[in-house]
C-alpha cells in the first residue's frame, strides 16, 4: 500500500517535471503551482513512508515492474530501512519544494531548475526503493545526472561549469565502482536481483573487494575524504533549495547505498571493514570541519560542514560493524541508531541552513560572508531560524544534533569491551577526533552566524536587505520545529528506528521509557541517560526565573549609546572582525600543516602612507596531492597520444603494418600450434 503510494508520488513528480518543461517560465504562477504540487507529492510520500515504518514489523512490500533489464525487470522493495530513508528524502524534498515556491520567483531561468528538481526527487526515491542492481544504479546515476543539470542551472559562471564537470566525473567514478561492487556481489552467475545477491555466499576475498568498492562508490557520492572534492564545488553552485536537497538529502541517499550494501547485501560485514569506516569517518569529520572553518563563502562553508557530518555518520556505521562482528548486537544497534539518527538530523538542519543561506542570497545577492553582517536587524525571522539550525548542527542541547552526537559518543564509550586490539586503540582516538570535530563545528557556526547575521552590515546590499516571503519562512520554520521536536523527544525516533536495526542487525536498542520526561537510555539508566525535554524545561525555567528576579530587583534603565569598544570605536564596518580574521587563530594552529597556510604581512615603513597589506595563501593538499597529479597524468597521456593525430599516412600505414605483424607473430607463437 505504502509502496504504491510512494510510486504514485514519484509519477506525480515526473509529471511535474514534464509539465515544467513546458510551463516553467510562463510566469510566476506556473512555478508556484508546480512547486506546490511537488511539495504535496513529497508530503504524501513522507506520510506513506512513515506509516510503513511504524507499521513494521510487517513483511516488506515488493513489486516487479516490466522495466530495466529485460530478464530481470525492475524490482522494488519497501522495507524498514527504505521506509526510513524515504521519509528523510521526501520530507527534505517537500520542504525544499515548499521553499521553492518563494525562491523560484527569484530564479532567472526556471526552466533550468524546475523540471530537473522534480525528476531529481523521483530519482532519489527510486534509489531507495530499488531492489536490483540495475535499477539501483540507473536511479543512482539519474540522481547524479539530474543534480548535475541543477548545478549547471547557473551556467554562465565558469566556476559552476567546472564544478559540474568535476561533479559528474566523480559521480561516474562512483557508479562504476558500484557497478564493479555489484559485479562481485552477483558473482559469475550474474543475477543482479538483490534477493539473489543476499542469498549468495561470498568468499572473504570477494566480499572484501566488494566492500571496498562499495565504500569507494558510495563514499564518493557522500563526500568521504579523499573523494569529497566535488562536493564543496557542486553543492554551493546549485540554487539554494537544490543545495539543501543535495547536501541534506542526496548525501543521505548515498549513505543508504552504503548501509544497504554493507549490512544487507553483503551479509554480516567483516570486522576489518569497521576500521576502514572509522578511519575514513574520523579523517572526514575533522578535515571537513577544518575546511569549513577556513571558508568565507556561506554556502561553501555549509557544504564542507556536510562533509564533516558524513564523517560522523560513518564513524557510527563503523562502530556498528565493529560491534556486530564481535557479537555485541545491542551495542551495534546503538551505533546504528546513532548513525541513522544523525542521518535524519543532518538532513533537517543542513536543509534548514542551506535554505537560510538561500534567503540571505536572494535578499542581499551576496554569498560572501565578508560582505554580509547585521542581517539580524533586517531579517529577524530568517536569522532566528538560521540560529536554530546553527545551534542544532553545533550539537548543542537541547536540539537534535546533540542527541545523535550523544548517542554516537555512547557507542564510542562501549568500545573498550571489543576484543580486537586495533579497535580498542582506534576507537578512543576516533572518539577524540569526533569531539574535536564537534567543537570545531561549534566554532564554525559561531563564525557563520556571527559574521553573516550579527555585527554591522559590511555592504550596501546587506544594509538594505529585506525579509523573505512567508512561504519560505514557513518551510524553514517547519525544519526548525522538527529539529526542536527530535531534540526534545528523541525517544520516539529511537523507537521508530527499531525495525530498521532489527532488519539489519537482528537487534534493537532497549525500548525507551515513555515517561516521565522522555529520557533516552542507550544501555541502562545508571550508565547514561539524557532527557532533552527536561534539560529544555530546566533551562527555560531557570532563565525565566533569573529574568523575573532581575526585573524585580534590578534597575530597569536602558540607554542606547555608541559602542564602547575600549574607547576606540571604529566608524567603518569593515574594521569589524571578518570571516578570515575569525578563523585566524585556528588557521594558525591547524592550517599551517593541513592547508599549508602561509600568511604574509607587508607593513609600510613608518611615515609611509600606504596601507599595510595582508596576504593569505592556502592549499588544498588532497586536491593538489591526488587530483591534480591524476589530471596531469591524464593530460600527459592525452598530449602524448595526441601526437598520433598528426602523423603522416605512411606512419599510419606503419601502424597497420605493425599490428598485422604482431598478430601474425602471436599466431605463429600460439601455444596450440
Amino acid at each position: 500500500m505504502a509502496l504504491a503510494a510512494v510510486l504514485a508520488t514519484m509519477l506525480g513528480q515526473l509529471a511535474v517535471a514534464l509539465l515544467a518543461i513546458g510551463l516553467a517560465g510562463r510566469g510566476a504562477w506556473a512555478g508556484s503551482v508546480l512547486y506546490a504540487a511537488s511539495a504535496a507529492a513529497g508530503a504524501i510520500a513522507t506520510l506513506a513512508a512513515l506509516a510503513s515504518l511504524l507499521a513494521a514489523p510487517a513483511p516488506p512490500e515488493t513489486l516487479i515492474l516490466p522495466f530495466g533489464l529485460p530478464w530481470l525487470g525492475a524490482h522494488l522493495r519497501l522495507d524498514a530501512l527504505a521506509a526510513f530513508f524515504l521519509a528523510v528524502v521526501n520530507f527534505g524534498g517537500a520542504i525544499a519544494a515548499l521553499y521553492g515556491i518563494g525562491y523560484g520567483a527569484h530564479e532567472p531561468s526556471p526552466r533550468r531548475v524546475l523540471p530537473f528538481f522534480a525528476a531529481f526527487l523521483a530519482a532519489m526515491n527510486l534509489v531507495v526503493l530499488a531492489d536490483d542492481a540495475f535499477t539501483f544504479l540507473l536511479a543512482w546515476e539519474c540522481m547524479s545526472l539530474l543534480s548535475w543539470a541543477l548545478v549547471m542551472a547557473h551556467h554562465h559562471s565558469a566556476a559552476n561549469r567546472a564544478a559540474g564537470h568535476v561533479y559528474l566525473t566523480m559521480a561516474g567514478f562512483g557508479t562504476l565502482a558500484l557497478l564493479l561492487a555489484f559485479g562481485l556481489l552477483a558473482g559469475p552467475a550474474g543475477d543482479y536481483g538483490f534477493a539473489a545477491i543476499r542469498s549468495a555466499p561470498l568468499t572473504p576475498w570477494l566480499g572484501g573487494g566488494a566492500l571496498l568498492l562499495a565504500v569507494l562508490g558510495t563514499g564518493s557520492k557522500a563526500g568521504l575524504v579523499p573523494l569529497h572534492v566535488w562536493l564543496p564545488l557542486a553543492h554551493p553552485a546549485a540554487p539554494s533549495h537544490v543545495s539543501a536537497l543535495m547536501s541534506g538529502v542526496m548525501t543521505k541517499v548515498a549513505l543508504y547505498g552504503l548501509i544497504r550494501i554493507l549490512f544487507d547485501l553483503l551479509g554480516p560485514p567483516p570486522g576489518w571493514a569497521s576500521m576502514v569506516l572509522l578511519a575514513a569517518g574520523g579523517a572526514t569529520a575533522v578535515l571537513g570541519v577544518l575546511q569549513a572553518l577556513m571558508q568565507s563563502e556561506l554556502k561553501r562553508l555549509l557544504a564542507y560542514s556536510t562533509i564533516e557530518n558524513i564523517g560522523v555518520i560513518c564513524v557510527g556505521l563503523g562502530l556498528a560493524i565493529a560491534f556486530q562482528a564481535n557479537g555485541m548486537t545491542a551495542a551495534s544497534a546503538l551505533a546504528m541508531t546513532a548513525a541513522l539518527c544523525h542521518i535524519a538530523n543532518h538532513a533537517l538542519f543542513k536543509s534548514l541552513l542551506f535554505l537560510g543561506a538561500g534567503a540571505v542570497l536572494t535578499a542581499t545577492g551576496e554569498r560572501d560572508l565578508e560582505r554580509l553582517g547585521g542581517l539580524i536587524h533586517r531579517m529577524p525571522q530568517t536569522s532566528f531560524l538560521f540560529l536554530i539550525g546553527a545551534v542544532a548542527i553545533a550539537a548543542l542541547p537541547p536540539l537534535n544534533g546533540f542527541v545523535s552526537e550523544w548517542l554516537t559518543f555512547q557507542a564510542v564509550l562501549l568500545s573498550p569491551v571489543l576484543p580486537h586490539w586495533g579497535l580498542k586503540i582506534m576507537v578512543p582516538a576516533v572518539g577524540g577526533l569526533l569531539a574535536l570535530a564537534t567543537a570545531l563545528a561549534a566554532a564554525c557556526f559561531v563564525k557563520a552566524f556571527g559574521i553573516a547575521f550579527l555585527g554591522r552590515a559590511r555592504s550596501a546590499a546587506a544594509a538594505t536587505a529585506q525579509e523573505v516571503e512567508p512561504t519560505r519562512l514557513v518551510a524553514m520554520a517547519l525544519l526548525a520545529l522538527a529539529c526542536l521536536l527530535i531534540g526534545l523527544l528523541p525517544g520516539y525516533v529511537i523507537d521508530g528506528l527499531a525495525p530498521v536495526t532489527r532488519d539489519l542487525l537482528g537487534a534493537v536498542m532497549p525500548a525507551q521509557p515513555a515517561a516521565p520526561w522522555q529520557p533516552i537510555v542507550p544501555v541502562v539508566a545508571s550508565r547514561s541517560s539524557y532527557s532533552g525535554l527536561l534539560v529544555f524545561l530546566f533551562i527555560g525555567v531557570s532563565a525565566s526565573l533569573a529574568a523575573l528576579v532581575i526585573h524585580r530587583v534590578a534597575s530597569h534603565a536602558v540607554r542606547r549609546a555608541p559602542a564602547w569598544d575600549c574607547g576606540y570605536p571604529e566608524p567603518s564596518p569593515l574594521a569589524q572582525y571578518s570571516a578570515g580574521s575569525f578563523a585566524q587563530p585556528l588557521r594558525r594552529v591547524f592550517g599551517t600543516s593541513i592547508f599549508r597556510a602561509r600568511e604574509q604581512v607587508t607593513m609600510p615603513l613608518p611615515g609611509d602612507l600606504r596601507p599595510a597589506r595582508f596576504a593569505l595563501q592556502m592549499r588544498d593538499l588532497v586536491w593538489e596531492g591526488l587530483y591534480l597529479p591524476l589530471a596531469a597524468a591524464i593530460g600527459y597521456a592525452a598530449e602524448r597520444l595526441n601526437a598520433l593525430q598528426f602523423l603522416t599516412i605512411r606512419r599510419y600505414l606503419g601502424m597497420v603494418f605493425l599490428a598485422l605483424v604482431t598478430l601474425l607473430l602471436v599466431l605463429a607463437l600460439w601455444p596450440s600450434f
Binding site: I649, R650, V661
Partner: protein, 221 residues
C-alpha cells in the same frame, strides 16, 4: 601434365614474385622501381597464366591479361609520366636504410612461412607454397609502403601487395570471383593513380611540413 613439373613451375614463378618484391625493396630510384614493378607484374601474369593452364580454368587468363596489360604496361607508363610531370625522378627517398629494410623483409618472409606452412598441411602442396609466397609478397608490399616517402613508390608498394593477393586468389583452386576481384582492384589502383595525378599529391603520403597539417586539420593549438 605431370604434377611434379606443374608444381615446380608454379613454385618457381611464385618464388620469382617474392624475389621481385625484394628487388623492389632494394631499389631506391623511382624509375628503377617502376621497371622492377613492371617485371613483378609480368611474373604475376605468367604465374596466373600457368595456374590457368594447370587448373584448367580459362577465365584466369583474363586475370593474367589484366596483369600484363594494365599492371605491367599501362600503369608503369602512366607513373613514368607522372614522375616526369612532377619532376621527382631524381629523388632517393627511403626512411630506413636498405640494409635494415632487407633484413626486416627476410624476417617477414620467415614469418610468412612459419605462419602458413603448418597451417595448410591439409591443402595440396601447390596451394600451400603459393599461399606462403603470396603472404610474403603481401607483407613485403606493405613494407615498401611503410618505408617509402614518395607517393609514387608507395603506390608501387600497394600494387605489389595486390599482386600478392592475386597470386593467392589464383592459387586457391576454383575460387570464384577472382576475375571480378582483379578488375575491382585494377579500378582501385587506377583511382589512386588518377588521384595522384589530379590532386598533385606529391608528398601527401608523408609531408614533413607539420604546420601544413595543423592548418588542414585545425586541431593543434
Amino acid at each position: 601434365m605431370p604434377h611434379g613439373l606443374a608444381f615446380d613451375i608454379a613454385h618457381l614463378l611464385a618464388g620469382g614474385l617474392v624475389l621481385m618484391s625484394f628487388l623492389l625493396l632494394y631499389q631506391v630510384r623511382l624509375y628503377a622501381m617502376l621497371n622492377i614493378f613492371a617485371l613483378h607484374a609480368l611474373v604475376l601474369a605468367l604465374s596466373v597464366a600457368w595456374q590457368a593452364l594447370v587448373q584448367g580454368a580459362p577465365h584466369l587468363y583474363i586475370t593474367a591479361l589484366i596483369a600484363l596489360v594494365f599492371k605491367a604496361i599501362t600503369i608503369p607508363v602512366a607513373l613514368h609520366r607522372i614522375i616526369q610531370r612532377l619532376g621527382i625522378h631524381r629523388e632517393i627517398e627511403t626512411v630506413v636504410g636498405i640494409g635494415p629494410t632487407m633484413l626486416v623483409g627476410m624476417g617477414l618472409v620467415a614469418l610468412a612461412m612459419v605462419v602458413m606452412l603448418p597451417v595448410t598441411a591439409n591443402a595440396d602442396a601447390l596451394a600451400r607454397e603459393d599461399l606462403a609466397f603470396a603472404l610474403s609478397v603481401v607483407l613485403l608490399g606493405l613494407l615498401v609502403m611503410v618505408t617509402r616517402r614518395n607517393a609514387v613508390s608507395q603506390v608501387v608498394g600497394f600494387m605489389s601487395l595486390e599482386n600478392g593477393l592475386v597470386l593467392a586468389a589464383t592459387g586457391a583452386k576454383g575460387m570464384p570471383l577472382v576475375v571480378e576481384i582483379s578488375v575491382a582492384f585494377s579500378i582501385l589502383i587506377a583511382f589512386i593513380v588518377i588521384g595522384i595525378f589530379l590532386f598533385r599529391i606529391r608528398e601527401r603520403f608523408d609531408t614533413v611540413d607539420l604546420q601544413a597539417l595543423d592548418r588542414f586539420r585545425g586541431e593543434r593549438r
